[in-house]
């Protein structure tokens, strides 16, 4: 087991280095932060730009800059934003909870919708409730999430003035972004719940339960759902990682003060340290989730441990 853990951690470390290396390299191809910083200055000269680059440490070779970043990373120092020098750690410290809160709220919406709908579809397989749920989820899958977000804002904020169109100022602020993300996720999850449920309903113990004369709801929610929860939880867990990546667009539309907005603005301003920091933290989160899932498998299934 220790050997298995060691290899998985080594793999995770390799992935982290690879991701940060690619991101650090790629963003440096997209332009010069010194120019962005001085964009209002008509009369900026090459000598001025060189001076600013030196102050930002951009005159060093790429590998030196990257190694400095790695060194900082392992000592817990993510550097400072090019835009005003705020420590990147502080910015992420503020943004991460906002992103996680939104991600959890979205997952909650999705689970609360997809389980009853998926179960209903499975039970009424082939009949009209199943057809309706499947068609609606297909429509949901085809929505671009930013479009749905803008439609919600138009309807609930501008037309009816019920909810704040952007920002994070209380529970009302969560409704639209969490609903947008949640509804898009639900579209996929309903299908998953339906399929898993259908398989479970074919099992012999379900037949036994019914033969015992148990009521439909007890059979469904106590026996069947409990047994399909294992693959579902695994899937939802992995989905959470993917969700963190997809949240960038939603955060921007709702001006949510999370990692997505931070990353988006950092790209626009060529703020290398902030972008590197955000990508590192997101990668760490996703790698940890995958690692936890893998380790959990390892515990359950001895075959995984050996491979």
């Amino acid at each position: 087991m220790a050997k298995f853990l060691f290899y998985r951690l080594l793999q995770a470390l390799f992935v982290l280095v690879a991701v940060t290396l690619i991101v650090s390299f790629a963003i440096r191809l997209t332009g010069d932060p010194a120019v962005m910083l001085a964009q209002g200055a008509g009369s900026i000269t090459e000598a001025d730009l060189e001076r600013i680059r030196e102050a930002l440490g951009l005159n060093q070779p790429f590998l030196v800059q990257y190694l400095n970043f790695l060194k900082g990373l392992f000592t817990g120092d993510l550097g400072r934003s090019f835009m005003g020098g705020t420590p990147v750690g502080d910015l992420i410290g503020r943004a991460l909870p906002a992103t996680l809160a939104l991600a959890f709220a979205s997952m909650f919406v999705s689970i609360a919708l997809s389980i009853p709908l998926g179960v209903k579809a499975a039970v009424s397989r082939g009949r009209w409730p199943d057809q309706v749920i499947r068609v609606v989820s297909l429509v949901g899958l085809s929505f671009p999430n930013f479009w749905l977000a803008i439609m919600l804002v138009l309807l609930l904020s501008i037309t009816f003035n019920l909810l704040p169109p952007s920002g994070m100022e209380g529970w009302q602020s969560f409704i639209m972004p969490a609903a947008t993300m949640g509804i898009i996720l639900t579209a996929t999850n309903v299908r998953l719940v339906r399929t898993t449920m259908l398989e479970t309903l074919r099992s012999q113990y379900i037949m036994v339960a019914r033969a015992k004369g148990l009521s439909d709801s007890v059979v469904l929610y106590k026996h069947a759902l409990r047994n399909c929860s294992i693959p579902l939880i695994t899937y939802f867990g992995l989905q959470f990682g993917g969700l963190l990546g997809g949240i960038v667009v939603i955060e921007r539309v709702f001006n949510w003060p999370g990692l997505g907005t931070l990353a988006f603005d950092a790209v626009a301003a060529r703020d290398y340290p902030v972008l590197q920091g955000v990508i590192t933290v997101l990668s760490l989160l996703i790698i940890s989730i995958n690692l936890l899932v893998d380790i959990a498998y390892g515990f359950v299934d001895p075959r995984v441990r050996k491979s």
């Binding site: 997209t30 332009g31 010069d32 010194a34 120019v35 962005m36 910083l37 001085a38 964009q39 209002g40 200055a41 008509g42 009369s43 900026i44 000269t45 090459e46 001025d48 001076r51 600013i52 102050a55 934003s81 090019f82 835009m83 005003g84 020098g85 705020t86 502080d90 910015l91 503020r94 943004a95 803008i150 804002v153 138009l154 904020s157 501008i158 003035n161 704040p164 169109p165 952007s166 920002g167 921007r252 539309v253 709702f254 001006n255 003060p257 907005t261 931070l262 988006f264 603005d265 626009a268 301003a269 060529r270």
Partner: protein, 506 residues
């Protein structure tokens, strides 16, 4: 008994209403970007200036009318042939922390800007004419210059020349000052949450009188549709340029509680030519290309009228603008004749380089290409990532026959454009070298006589038009989204809205 209660309740209600009416309001402004630091010398972002102009004062002040008036200096005098300027300072002014403003604060500000701290930021390049500042007495300072700078007084009204408090910075340190700025301006910063918002409160002791508002919050919203939604929902009162896209003007104006207010801005657009090689090396071809395009039609249709056709690469507010200089007319026949004369074959291809993320300009470029098609030129449009175009393609002289140049200068002085676009060897001038232009551009930099300098700059404008160094397209308007509860709002061409007189109705 009941009546008495009712009466009391009514009195109380009236009293409360009166109290809230006499209580000045708060204003919320959407700004597209958090500059990250409020230190005047750290950035050169217009989004710094829109807030900074409320926190800080300079020795001079320039409001929305662009007239230069006294700020923290009450008067000034040019001495030694323009190489020394003596400022008399305003008395009784205090910083937000209670620290008095005096000659030492002015000296400290410029020592800092021209010293190590200033070397790390982009502001110093604006003030390189200044050699040093000396204190004459508490209310008098002398600025010693390496050479006269005709634009210096304007530059002292904004950005890096904002006066900062020496005692406060020495006590708290540079880093603290970045996020907890203190100035002498009409509003003081009470809370700053990076990437989210900055909250300002009226500074009643301001020398120009107390602001009418109690507080102002700037929220950083980068997505235009989000900022506009906040405006329409009544949660934001002003949306600062350049947020509002032209395509949203109608939907904002259609809303009962919001409107778009516009004013001519310093931003100008042109399609510049490769004057070194290819067909555009021929002056006649360049003139033909300009005449082939109906620029007024572009302003009317694509810009929804929010701009003006220009004859040279500057707007009407620019110092050096010449109202008598006419743009080339739209004349496809004359264009055709010039092309034939220059021996350009029908179907000749040329490439137009543009910024890929600029949707409005992409439309403009397409229309230009269509007009060029009309005189037999096959134009292709090459979009580049903005940074790539600005850093790699233009300075290296690797553009197509024509390339987009968007320009704007907060000083509203044609020097800031002309010198960088036309002087030999400048970053933005990869193709042309003209001894006459070099001479004129160098000469005007040391002339402090305004009339004489204006004549020279107007000559430069006329000369570049005759040589057809670019196709001047238009100057853009700055678009403000303004809520109906805002009063006394005057749009500033340069985003620097000072909120002293602005008020809100509840």
């Amino acid at each position: 008994m009941k009546k008495t209660t009712l009466f009391k309740a009514c009195t109380l209600a009236v009293a409360m209403a009166a109290a809230s009416a006499s209580h000045a309001g708060s204003l919320t402004i959407a700004s597209p970007q958090d500059p990250g630091s409020w230190d005047p010398i750290d950035t050169f972002l217009v989004n710094w200036a829109s807030v900074g102009t409320n926190i800080f004062d300079g020795l001079t002040y320039r409001g929305p009318d662009l007239e230069l008036v006294p700020g923290l200096a009450t008067s000034w005098e040019e001495l030694d042939d323009g190489k020394r300027i003596r400022f008399t300072l305003r008395e009784g002014v205090v910083f937000h922390n209670g620290e008095p403003f005096d000659a030492e604060a002015v000296k400290f500000t410029f020592d800092r800007l021209l010293g190590d701290e200033g070397a790390r930021g982009p502001q110093r390049s604006n003030y390189t004419a200044i050699s040093h500042v000396t204190v004459v007495d508490d209310t008098t300072v002398d600025f010693f210059l390496y050479q006269p700078d005709p634009v210096l007084l304007t530059k002292l009204a904004a950005y890096g020349a904002m006066i900062v408090p020496p005692g406060y910075i020495e006590e708290h340190g540079e880093e603290y000052f970045d996020t907890h700025p203190v100035g002498t301006g009409p509003f003081k910063v009470v809370e700053y949450t990076p990437r989210s918002d900055v909250k300002l409160e009226a500074f009643a002791e301001h020398w120009g009188g107390a602001p009418k508002l109690d507080s102002v919050t700037y929220r950083f919203i980068s997505e235009p549709s989000t900022a506009v939604a906040e405006l329409q929902a009544g949660r934001v009162d002003i949306v600062l340029p350049p947020t509002v896209p032209i395509g949203m003007i109608d939907s904002i104006n259609a809303h009962p509680n919001a409107e778009v207010v516009s004013v001519a801005s310093p931003t100008v657009e042109a399609l510049r030519f490769n004057t070194q090689s290819g067909i555009t090396a021929d002056e006649r071809v360049r003139q033909a290309i300009i005449m082939a395009v109906d620029r007024q039609a572009i302003v009317d249709s694509i810009l929804a009228g929010e701009g003006s056709v220009i004859a040279s690469f500057q707007g009407e507010q620019s110092f050096g603008f010449d109202a008598s200089l006419e743009p080339y007319p739209f004349d496809p026949q004359q264009a055709q004749a010039l092309l034939t004369e220059a021996g350009v074959e029908p179907g000749t291809e040329l490439q137009i380089d543009i910024r890929g993320n600029d949707a409005t300009f992409a439309e403009v470029a397409q229309v230009v290409a269509a007009y060029l098609q009309g005189v037999g030129l096959n134009a292709s449009i090459q979009p580049y990532e903005t940074n790539v175009l600005l850093n790699d393609i233009i300075p290296a002289g690797r553009t197509g026959a024509m390339f987009q140049q968007k320009w704007g200068g907060w000083t509203f002085d044609f020097d800031n454009t002309a010198y960088l676009m036309y002087h030999s060897g400048e970053r933005w001038n990869p193709y042309d070298s003209d001894a006459t232009l070099d001479e004129m551009l160098d000469a005007q930099r040391s002339i402090t006589d305004r009339a004489e300098r204006e004549t020279l700059l107007q000559f430069v404008a006329r000369y570049t038009k005759e040589r057809a160094l670019e196709m001047p397209l238009y100057s853009l308007n700055a678009l403000y989204g303004v809520g109906s509860r805002v009063e006394n709002f005057e749009p500033a061409p340069d985003n620097r809205i000072r909120l002293t007189d602005v008020d809100v109705t509840e």
